[in-house]
Amino acid sequence: MKPKLLLVDDEEGIRKVLGISLADSGYTVLSAENGEEALRIFESQQPDIVLTDIKMPGMDGITLLRRIKQQNPETEVIMITGHGDMELAIKSLQYDATDFVTKPISDDALEKSLQKARERILIRRKLKEYTENLESLVHEKSARLQAVAKSPASQASGAQQPPDPSRYHKIFDDMPCYITVRDRQYHLTAANKLFRQDFGEPGGSCCYELCKQAAAPCEDCPADKTFHSGCPQQTEMVFKTQTGASFNTLVWTTPVRDAHGEITHVLVMATNITQLSQLQDHLASLGLMIGSVSHAIKGMLTGLDGGMYLIDAGFAHEDQAQVQEGWEVVKLMVGRIRGMVLDILYQAKERAVVRTPVDLAVFAEELTSLIAPKMKRHGIRLAQEFAPGVGRFELDAGQVQAALVNILENAVDACIEDRQKTEHRVVFRVRREPQQVVFEVEDNGIGMDADTRAGIFTLFASSKADKGTGLGLFVAAKIVHQHGGEITVASAPGEGSCFTVRLPAVGAEPGGFPHTTPEDQEA
């Protein structure tokens, strides 16, 4: 086959003369009088060699060279340069021109350049053939190897044992994390031992039923994403067992394809990272606590300074009332500091829950006696509603008392903050329900909006500015959770709040995770 050559020059004479001589040398010659026309012809004809003038009106030779190389880097481009255009010539070589010839064009020089181009084309073609040959050679050899491996002779020799499927199944089963296989309809088609042990037999159940005790698929399902994209996914999720225990997991998914490359299933691996998450939370809250505590301490120190100043000034002016006033301030500040230190101790030191049978009526009575003086000082009425015959209940009296005092204090503060209502009251209720005891603290103080309510147990955010450390309710929630119980709040701004604490009877608490046990404390 004749090589195709595109000749580009704005001078018609050159195109004519060169065109005839190139056709004589055995090329199929195409010609163009400018860069734009040359590109059009190049695109439709795909010539092997382009011979172009460097200096042309409109698109110059260098630009044409670059455009051609962009479209097909294997095209051989020879540049025609004027006498003394060395810079342009060198530049064209930088853009991967095959060679350049100078005007006036000598037949010898042109033939040398064309030969160079032809050689490069030839070498490239051979290289391509070799590569293709090599590929077919590899296919051929591997087919033979497979044939040998499948032959009865090789199996008998024992040289290449085929993989034993039961071995893989055992590895799958014994993996120390949860592994399941899921189809497109959320059905679990396989699960390893650990998963079956903690979540039950799949038996055609859906993943969300077993892993989350939910009635519908999760909104952000990583396995769905893998079905959709074919890519592995990684995410964090909360799993919940049938017994109600929940824990944080790190989940990976990867597609399982059939022989045609279609994704039929997704493999889901999950590992329990609850301890890690708790540690993260703990560190985050520690950071927040330090910020909140240091701010609270600054406020209290300023208050102490204020008290001392008033005492000093009172003595200087021999003003007994001012000394008294200063002394009250100092007492108040010392009280605030003591409360904060106790809160910090609770936060810093994990305590084991030690349950003893407690007479609930006596317990509640003692509790209210702790808060009653503060309420009386602020003219807040305390209503006790203890259900008759609440009887005895096993709980850690010291800890539950600390939790409830924090909640009661909070209720009192909420009443003090409120300047709208003229009369304030706090109701403290205790009642028994099957398998649990319920404490309720209701106030008609300032109340909370949804944002404040959402953060009160988790964040160290105090809505009490300088008076709060943001620790009290956090500590209360922690104690309640350690008892396997729950703490909830209902509130409306301007109307008040109601905190409800439910503590399950021993043996009735759900799951058994993540309660702290005495063993944990010693670790």
């Binding site: 300023t302 208050g303 204020g306 100043y309 008033l310 301030v329 500040m333």
Partner: protein, 119 residues
């Protein structure tokens, strides 16, 4: 007439303390424990200087400051920030920033630099 200083802090004890320090040294004072109340007091009392806490539950100090300075009559009242927060740049135009707990002598010096002696 003695120069008047408005004390804004949500903690009544700190208000009491600042009042005592400033009045003992010849200034007259007025006070507010919320941003909303403070704006009323500023308009009524036209203080020569304001001491302002940053973190207050109902209205954040800088927010109050922005509201106040919208009024051309009030925008030039000098403000000294007295706060436990590290937000030194929360109010750029503040004449001084005192960190809680503050030194009363330093407070008086700062007040004197801003508005001079009481009379």
């Amino acid at each position: 007439m003695a120069k008047k200083i408005l004390i804004i802090d949500d903690d009544p004890i700190i208000v009491k303390y600042l009042t005592a320090v400033l009045e003992d040294n010849g200034y007259t004072t007025c006070s507010a424990t919320t941003g909303a109340a403070a704006l009323e007091v500023v308009k009524r009392e036209k203080p020569d200087l304001i001491t302002l806490d940053l973190e207050m539950p109902e209205e954040w100090g800088p927010h109050f400051y922005r509201r106040m300075t919208k009024d051309p009559e009030l925008q030039d009242i000098p403000v000294i920030v007295i706060s436990g927060m590290a937000g030194r740049h929360a109010i750029k135009k503040a004449v001084a920033y005192l960190s809680k707990p503050f030194d009363p002598d330093k407070l008086l010096l700062t007040v004197q630099r801003a508005i001079g002696l009481p009379d």
